[in-house]
């Protein structure tokens, strides 16, 4: 039983660290801020979650408290990371850093038409 | 050995961020660099087995220093070169 948990924990840690690496690579390689946010948020969220849970699994037999604390950290990360990346994306759009669009066939940027009105509404 | 490598890596990162914060003309970038410094500093204190100092650094550095620096930027100027062009700094002090 202990070996099973060790294998699960080790695998989760390894997968997590690979995804953390991919998150770093993603924000380096992607061409504009929105794509960077996409790669960064997704990869680091899953990477961090799986690594922390892996640590919890390694300890689950000696000390269940590690698992509980790992779970609460994971829940908070899963809730808060998308919020911050959303806030950043909206802020960047408001600063008129429009997203990169490769093949423009008309309506690829649906947000542009409403973003002007939003500013006025917000100021109210 | 591993700890030494980790500590060296983090120190290098922190030094780089600190130099970046000083050299940078855009003060907003310097503020973000300050955030990186406090992040790395937390990890360093943690590695040096001082969790209470690390917790203090984490609690202060994560948002409070950022907001105070940002309010300072808002009340003065964002770019260092605008320093003489606008009289904003003067009116902020008054």
């Amino acid at each position: 039983m202990s070996l099973l948990f060790e294998i699960i924990g080790g695998a989760l840690i390894l997968i997590g660290s690979i995804f953390l690496l991919l998150g770093g690579l993603g924000i380096l390689r992607m061409p504009d801020v929105y794509n960077r946010l996409q790669a960064g948020t997704k990869a680091t969220t899953l990477g961090g979650m799986s690594l922390i849970l892996g640590v919890g699994f390694l300890k689950v037999e000696d000390d269940w408290t590690w698992m509980v604390k790992a779970l609460i950290i994971v829940i908070f990360i899963a809730f808060s990371n998308p919020i911050s990346s959303h806030a950043l994306a909206r802020a960047m759009y408001k600063r008129k850093r429009y997203p990169l669009i490769k093949n423009d066939d008309g309506n690829m940027d649906a947000y542009k038409e409403v973003s002007e009105n939003i500013k006025k509404e917000d100021k109210k | 050995m591993t700890y030494l490598i980790l500590i060296f890596f983090l120190l290098l990162l922190m030094l780089g961020a600190a130099i970046y914060a000083i050299v940078q003309k855009d003060l907003l970038y310097a503020v973000i660099a300050t955030g990186v410094i406090s992040l790395v500093l937390t990890a360093l204190f943690y590695l040096l087995q001082a969790p209470d100092v690390a917790l203090t650094e984490a609690a202060i550095g994560v948002a409070l220093t950022t907001i105070i620096f940002i309010i300072t930027i808002r009340n003065t100027v964002r770019h260092e070169d605008d320093y003489n062009k606008k009289d904003d700094l003067k009116s902020a002090v008054e």
């Binding site: 808060s80 909206r90 | 209470d52 203090t56 609690a59 948002a63 409070l64 907001i67 105070i68 808002r74």
Partner: protein, 231 residues
């Protein structure tokens, strides 16, 4: 002439100061049987506290902590005075406009949890690497989140100042109670309990709760003042 007197005075002062330091033996290993061992021993035998640093900060060196909290209060006041500025003239609000709906709902959801984390940190100051200052800062960060997300989030200045004053007064009263019972400022006079329980460490958790309230009120007031704009 004036400068001459100043230089003479400073030189005299410097000479005596240097002599004093010389006699003290600055940097000598005079404290080899000094306070360190007493602290380490007393922490376990008398106070039953897991966190030695906490016991030093709050109990053995409690008077210094009072000074530190005062310094923090002064620093917060001075920073508020410098950064406060009537700039936008947009009325009675902390930020110019509310955040997007996702950020608002998210901060509503996370705000109680952040406050609870802060309270957890300062209630468990004697068991974990936390403490009053850290917990208070975390609570203030939670209020910062709400102030950023909502344009009309109100924090009552009166309540904040009352909390701060009462926390300070009770800190001093507990310290003086130590005088009354034992002989020194913040001498422990309450039952110490068993180690690693929540109700242990005598007076330390109470002091940390008071410090936590004080720091939280100070920093929240500071952020609120510098974000807030009046007509």
């Amino acid at each position: 002439m004036k400068k001459f007197i100043v230089i003479i005075t400073l030189a005299t002062l410097g000479f005596y100061l240097g002599q004093t330091f010389y006699e003290l033996g600055f940097g000598d290993a005079r404290f080899e049987h000094g306070v360190k061992d007493i602290y380490l021993e007393k922490t376990v035998s008398e106070l039953h506290v897991a966190n030695t640093i906490t016991s030093i900060i709050v109990s053995f060196r409690g008077f210094d902590t009072l000074g530190e909290v005062t310094v923090l209060f002064l620093a917060a006041t001075a920073l508020g005075g410098i950064l406060y500025k009537r700039r936008h003239h947009v009325g009675d609000r902390s930020v110019l406009f509310s955040a997007s709906r996702i950020v608002r709902s998210g901060s509503k959801l996370l705000f109680p949890a952040v406050i609870l984390l802060g309270v957890y940190v300062f209630v468990h100051g004697h068991l974990s690497p936390g403490g009053g200052f850290q917990g208070g800062t975390i609570v203030a960060t939670g209020f910062l989140l709400m102030l950023l997300a909502y344009e009309n989030f109100k924090v009552s200045h009166h309540v904040l100042s009352y909390i701060e004053s009462f926390a300070g007064i009770f800190f001093v009263l507990f310290g003086l109670a130590g005088f009354y019972n034992g002989g020194t400022f913040l001498e422990n006079f309450m039952p110490v309990g068993t180690m690693n329980n929540l109700f242990s460490g005598g007076v330390i958790p109470i002091i940390y709760i008071l410090v936590g309230f004080k720091v939280a009120a100070e920093l929240t007031g500071l952020i609120y003042t510098v974000l807030h704009e009046k007509d």
